[in-house]
Amino acid sequence: MRHSLSIQIGPVAFRIGSAWRAPLDALARLYAAYPAPRDGICDFTVRLEPEKPWRRHFRPSVAIKGDYILPDAAPLSLAHGLLAAEMGMNLQMALGQKQYLLLHASSVEKDGRALIMTGESGAGKSTLAALLGERGWRLLGDEFALLDLDSGELLPFPRAVSLKNGAIRALEAEVEPDRFGPRLEGTPKGEIRHMRPNDEALARMGERARPALILFPRFGEAEAVRGVGAAETFMRFTQASTNYVTLGARGFEALNRLIAGSPALAIDYPDSDSAVAMVEGFWRELAA
């Protein structure tokens, strides 16, 4: 490919090739503080290619390709090239990650113990993790939680946080401007802005954490808390995992161990500040 870039995020190394320079320049700026893969080898390859040969210069159209592809993925405009690269990396994880149990969840750590948050798109798990990451917690990841199949520990995967619509303003209010990527308007998911996790999250991206609490947050409702039983938690996680089925018995055992070791709560919250306060409250109870 004409242009290429390698990035290490937690245990995973990506190689991104592109027919255009701009998406990789944006990616390099956003991931400036990340290490290059130590061994020079990559786990996954992402390719940003013209959707048709003539769409490189004429009305550029970025198709997301790589080791693993979705045959019917819609191409993006070159202005959204950074988003295409991010989606390409996510796609490799979702379809190709077979070393760890992959949960579609955000996670943060404090005192060596991890909080996992999962829920449907829009539930606020990503925003909440990003906010906690700025308020005394270590961000492990906003999108994917990687569970080690043998030890049951969580591996950090602190890629750039993908903030959408209202969450952009919330984080812009408390984070240094140089940690943000460009504002991407009119994407299929609305307005998107990527945010680099803070220095601590990056410096400690090799440091694992033991899961301690599971939350199912839901944004936009009056404050409420409900305990969630093991069976429901299990079912929700099987739906939130892209590789649970392919991992077979090992995935089943890892998930069982996670649920046996961590209580689970469903919380409704009206705004981010009350959610942060609720989380801090649970954490104090857990430690007591």
Binding site: T45, D67, G96, K98
Partner: protein, 334 residues
């Protein structure tokens, strides 16, 4: 090194690749659906930790894929058992069911089975009864085309397991010039202990060669050729008369040219031992070889013109010119 070449070398002689472009090798292997086979070939070697972990995950993945493929075959067997018609597993599922060397790390996409042509209708109805569903509109051109001219029914997908089944009644489209003897394929098929059936060894090679050389455009052909290499080595070692048997069988199915070419290409790329009398020079083999290797270290397909030529050839093999013109016209204008 063009990376399909590196992939071929790694499969052929795993000990010979060290300090290579690992990311390129892995991307090419994934693109060619050979990552599982490669992972098993590389097992136990001194590899960089990241590469070793990738291969270990690929081996675990292949084990799971095997379980799923065999389960899918068993589901079809149960659905068709009441009919009392022979059901023969083909391709990947057959390799796994028969525990052949070709199954080691072999990925399996669809379930392919062969049944007698006279039973097609009741087989299709029994599968639909058991939860498989039609993918193509029942009154569309594709459906008509499959039923009139193809060697298989329009594909069916299982409602809950989301897996596809291709029900064949022979191994080449009816429009192709060679006319394989489908009755002989079924009559000489072999029963396994599990109650499943697979083609006889020689017919298995004939089918693999027909699929690779006499049908299709050779996309993903490195894996089909790897199947052929593994099968030829295993069958050739087990039976001293195998090559003569294969020669006779290929002739009976009017596929001697395809079988010979496949064996030569396997010899050329994977070092498959073939009889000296089979090792003749054939003018266009280098084109086939170049087509098979048209993949770079980013996993991209190269040699656009060559690939297009093979695409045209695949249609040319499949149907007479007038019919081809009509078919392409319908596909282009819809």
């Amino acid at each position: 090194m063009r990376n399909a070449r590196l992939l071929v070398q790694a499969l052929r002689d795993p000990g010979s690749v060290r300090n290579c472009d690992w990311a390129g090798l892995i991307s090419a292997a994934r693109a060619e659906q050979l990552i599982g086979s490669l992972a098993f070939r590389m097992a136990g070697r001194d590899l960089p930790p990241r590469v070793a972990a990738t291969f270990e995950a690929a081996r675990n993945d292949a084990a799971q894929a095997r379980t799923q493929a065999l389960w899918e075959g068993e589901m079809a067997r149960r659905a068709l058992a009441p009919l009392g018609v022979p059901m023969i597993l083909l391709k990947g599922t057959a390799f796994h069911a028969a525990n052949l060397d070709a199954s080691i790390g072999r990925s399996v996409g669809d379930l392919d089975i062969l049944v007698p042509r006279a039973s097609l209708r009741e087989v299709e109805l029994a599968l639909i009864e058991a939860g498989w569903e039609r993918v193509k509109a029942a009154d569309g051109y594709d459906d008509f085309y499959y039923r009139r001219w193809m060697h298989e029914l329009p594909p069916l997908i299982h409602r809950t397991r989301d897996r596809m089944i291709d029900v064949h009644h022979t191994i080449l489209p009816l429009t192709a010039r060679p006319r394989p003897d489908a009755e002989a394929l079924i009559a000489d098929s072999v029963a396994l202990e599990s109650g499943l059936r697979v083609l006889s060894p020689a017919d298995m090679i004939v089918h693999a060669a027909a699929h690779l050389i006499a049908d299709g455009d050779l996309a993903g052909g490195l894996r089909n050729l790897w199947d052929i290499d593994r099968l030829l080595r295993e069958f050739g070692a087990a039976d001293p008369d195998f090559w003569a048997r294969l020669q006779a069988r290929a002739g009976r199915h009017q596929l001697a040219r395809a079988v010979h070419r496949a064996a030569r290409l396997a010899d050329d790329l994977y070092g498959t031992p073939i009889p000296p009398s089979w090792r003749v020079r054939a003018g266009v083999d280098p084109l086939f070889r170049a087509r098979l290797l048209a993949r770079n270290g980013w996993g991209q397909e190269r040699r656009k013109l060559l690939r297009f030529a093979f695409y045209l050839r695949s249609h040319w093999l499949r149907m007479p010119p007038l019919m081809l013109a009509r078919h392409l016209w319908i596909k282009a204008t819809r």
